[in-house]
Symmetry: C2
Subunit: 382 residues, 2 copies
């Protein structure tokens, strides 16, 4: 992994590359020059005062003859835990929501093709119109074996935050909810839209949560069709595909992942999913180090330790045509706003046609065979 | 896309970033600092004389208690067509093979853990031991509608090159073979090992070639288990997965793809496949512009043109742990050698366990349903 203190790949390039080389490098790295949205001075001042990064980009699509642009904005909130990880669960969300909730004005300029706010966006968080937001869950991401004094390491989704969210926003959540006798990872999409099961709880929770049994549901919201592929689920291309086959236009991946383990994978997986499935994907990680009062081990032969590693942030949004936003920093809290024209999903599909050229029937047959205990791999020998 | 004349992302970074920033940037971009293999002066001189790029990297694995290192070397040959694309088919391969075949010595140093050449490597191309090579096919990549004077645009795999290859090397081929009444895209793995069908011929050939019906075979060779995912097949994560489920340790993706269309996708897809499937992947593209004597159109509403676009090279190798080599340049012929310890496949699987955590049975059921014409997507409405 890069050093924990290394703030940002993109910033490093901006500081050192000559303009024409920077342009070429960004085109290769980001798939194009992302369109920056202008931010009002009020928003920038709030970000400065509250010490968080604020960035906003737009993904345009071509004008269509029969459909107007379908513009929505998503907001990806990347944060460190506002309190130590073993602070009472009920107290965890409040500092974040109260500190940031009042003061994150959005981009000022409606885009040229935007004729009004997207439908159903009257209620926004944080107090503005038309933002979805998605953040790593506070709960369900404690390393196995961690014990916070007398508290259990698992943290049921705190009622206050759920209630607050339900009142004020159309959130996409990824969390792990403990129930009597165990629990399952869950994603929620849109206030009241429903929930879907995590396809595989992240490894530290594998002994606490069972795999979901709810399939790959997609939530039809006033903003579009969204899905939540929780954390570890990003490693499996089939999860993204199945959400896409159910119609997802935006798939959120709320994650909590650390450098030495996954930083080589992070910029690749969600972006590949956007490409392969003609949809937008939102990859959200948190930042910083979380220290626990008691030592634990990670089963990797290394010494016992009190933190899980460095959460490297770097949240980003990918578009169906392979473009992506720069990442938020590796070191700071941040809010990444992206304006998406959902028409780009079908437009990209019309060019590449992966939904047509993917041979679902053949894949299904081969997978069905491969899932059998007596499967014999198709190996041709000389 | 980046400008056609922009040679290399990696070179630009090396030239302009301070050393410590370069190290951090490379760790993020490449997933680590790849180990450079030392090249003998003889090889470097040959590359200079013959004007091609020569680079060599190694992916080590941890020592194991029960298995020795399984070192193999792959060679990715990236080239522009040596003759104009409408030169006689039989003449196409000869200039390349004859110019380069005599003079590409490999890396000099056996790695510290290497105790000898890998088994079965006595016959090598180009005249050395232990290289696999894989290059974009000469045939089957002409844009639809191109007509080369009185010659048909399709180019059956030239007999001389097949014969030469069969005599001298253990190649992995991707090509499109025309047969009476049509043809199918094919991959061949290892001399005589067999062949497998392209899962989907690239779009320009879609009216000339049918999809393959041979499934996703893997070729057991003396070098390890390899597969060939031809060109367009890289866009479908299921192709990579099914080759992997059949045991592939290295999957080659011989491609011919141009900038405006796919450069945003190129560094992502094969690398994601290596990550998701705990295997090595080799992405090979060719370079340059190929001009045809007659105009053709690409069905995109743009003016008729005489070339298909800029083939941007950038061939690379990805490892199962998410690391990758720097790419070959965007502008020059090149040979990229990578020394792979195939033990890294299982070692990475032991850490991430995607083969275990992927829910094949559930995916198979959902895909089977989704492949039906009356499938109703699983959409939850508010």
């Amino acid at each position: 992994m890069a050093s924990p203190e290394f703030p940002s790949l993109e910033r490093s390039l901006e500081e050192h590359l000559p303009p024409d080389e920077l342009r070429n490098v960004r085109r290769i790295l980001l798939g194009g020059e992302p369109r920056k949205l202008s931010l009002p001075a009020e928003a920038l001042a709030a970000a400065s005062e509250l010490d968080f990064e604020l960035a906003a980009f737009g993904f345009e699509a071509a004008e269509e003859q029969l459909r107007p642009a379908r513009l929505v904005r998503v907001g990806l909130v990347q944060n460190r835990l506002p309190l130590p990880p073993c602070a009472p669960v009920a107290e965890q969300p409040c500092p974040l929501l109260s500190a940031r909730g009042r003061s994150c004005p959005g981009p000022s300029s409606p885009s040229p093709r935007r004729t009004g706010p997207p439908p159903g966006c009257a209620k926004g968080w944080p107090g503005r119109t038309g933002w979805w937001w998605c953040r790593p869950s506070w709960s369900g991401t404690r390393p196995t074996g961690t014990s916070c004094g007398t508290r259990p390491w698992w943290c049921p989704a705190p009622a206050p935050s759920w209630a607050r969210a339900a009142r004020t926003t159309c959130p996409a959540w990824g969390t792990s909810t403990r129930r009597a006798g165990g629990g399952r990872g869950e994603g929620r999409g849109g206030a009241g839209a429903g929930r879907g099961g995590a396809q595989r709880p992240p490894f530290p929770q594998a002994t606490y949560y069972m795999e979901g049994t709810l399939g790959h549901p997609v939530f039809q919201t006033p903003f579009g069709r969204i899905a939540v592929n929780i954390c570890y689920g990003r490693h499996h291309p089939l999860n993204w595909l199945l959400y896409s086959l159910n119609g997802a236009e935006i798939i959120f991946n709320p994650s909590a992942t650390v450098g030495a383990l996954s930083e080589a994978l992070w910029p690749i997986e969600a972006r590949n999913a956007a490409i392969a499935n003609h949809c937008f994907t939102c990859a959200i990680n948190r930042v910083g180090v979380e220290r626990f009062p008691r030592e634990f081990t990670s089963g990797d032969g290394k010494p016992a330790h009190r933190d899980f590693g460095y959460f490297y942030g770097s949240s980003y949004v990918s578009a169906p045509d392979g473009r992506r936003t720069p990442g938020l920093s590796r070191t700071r809290d941040g809010l990444l706003v992206a304006e998406l024209d959902l028409n780009l999903c079908r437009q990209t599909g019309d060019i590449w046609n992966f939904k047509m050229t993917g041979r679902l029937g053949m894949y299904a047959e081969e997978l069905t065979a491969a899932a059998q205990p007596d499967y014999r791999p198709h190996i041709v020998k000389e």
